[in-house]
């Protein structure tokens, strides 16, 4: 299984190609976790994410490898954005190619659960529209 892990402080591309190596792939599933316009009941304009970078990447790879032993897939790409992520943009992307959809869906759901338990990445703070605008001026 091929694994690609990335932490990035720039927007995650709207289109990411499926792996060309996945000749045996019958399923290609992609997930984007988008920043929603509200956090704890308040209206927000962006979230700021912080990561313990080398460990976050190591953990993501470890989780995928562990899950894939039960749900063997062909290719997994996971990208987490750090820094300021405006509302509507993706904080996380995961793309999984599998022989069949069952293992790809299971790996996706399992990865997201584990990510939210174990991967050292934090929503550092929510920014209002004013705060986001001020940040852009600086």
């Amino acid at each position: 299984m091929e694994i690609e892990i990335q932490l990035t402080d720039t927007p995650i591309a709207a289109y990411l190609s499926a792996p060309t190596s996945g000749v045996g792939a019958g399923a290609w599933v992609e997930f984007r976790g988008l920043v929603r316009g509200e956090e704890n009941g308040g209206v927000i304009a962006a979230l700021e994410y912080e990561a313990y970078s080398p460990m976050a990447e190591t953990e993501m790879r470890r989780i995928i490898t562990e899950l894939a032993s039960g749900q063997p897939c062909l290719f997994v790409r996971a990208i987490h954005r750090i820094g300021i992520v405006p509302v509507g943009e993706a904080a996380i992307y995961i793309g999984i190619a599998g022989r069949h959809r069952a293992e790809a869906f299971a790996l996706l759901a399992g990865f997201m659960d584990r990510l939210k338990q174990d991967v050292p990445i934090w929503k550092r703070r929510a920014l209002t529209a004013t705060e986001l605008a001020e940040l852009k001026i600086k």
Partner: protein, 78 residues
């Protein structure tokens, strides 16, 4: 030993990392020294996990001068 702080723990320690002198330690020794340096950390002890050289460790972990130890508060990625 190099210690790393993340998220709201940085608001307590007012720094992202610090050097903690001292040789072989277990988790209790480490927390004692940490709380001595930053008393505000005590409240978070129960919820914080420790990572040694980028891997989670349990309560039986031991640390040496050469280790990088991170305090990992509950994560919230994704």
């Amino acid at each position: 030993m190099r210690l790393l702080f993340f998220a709201h723990l940085k608001d307590i320690t007012h720094c992202a990392e610090m050097n903690l002198p001292g040789g072989d330690m277990d988790t209790d020794d480490l927390w004692c020294k940490l709380i001595e340096a930053h008393p505000g950390l005590e409240t978070f002890r129960a919820s914080v996990r420790l990572a040694k050289n980028s891997e989670y460790v349990g309560r039986d972990a031991r640390f040496t001068e050469a280790d990088e130890v991170a305090l990992i508060p509950p994560v919230s990625g994704g």
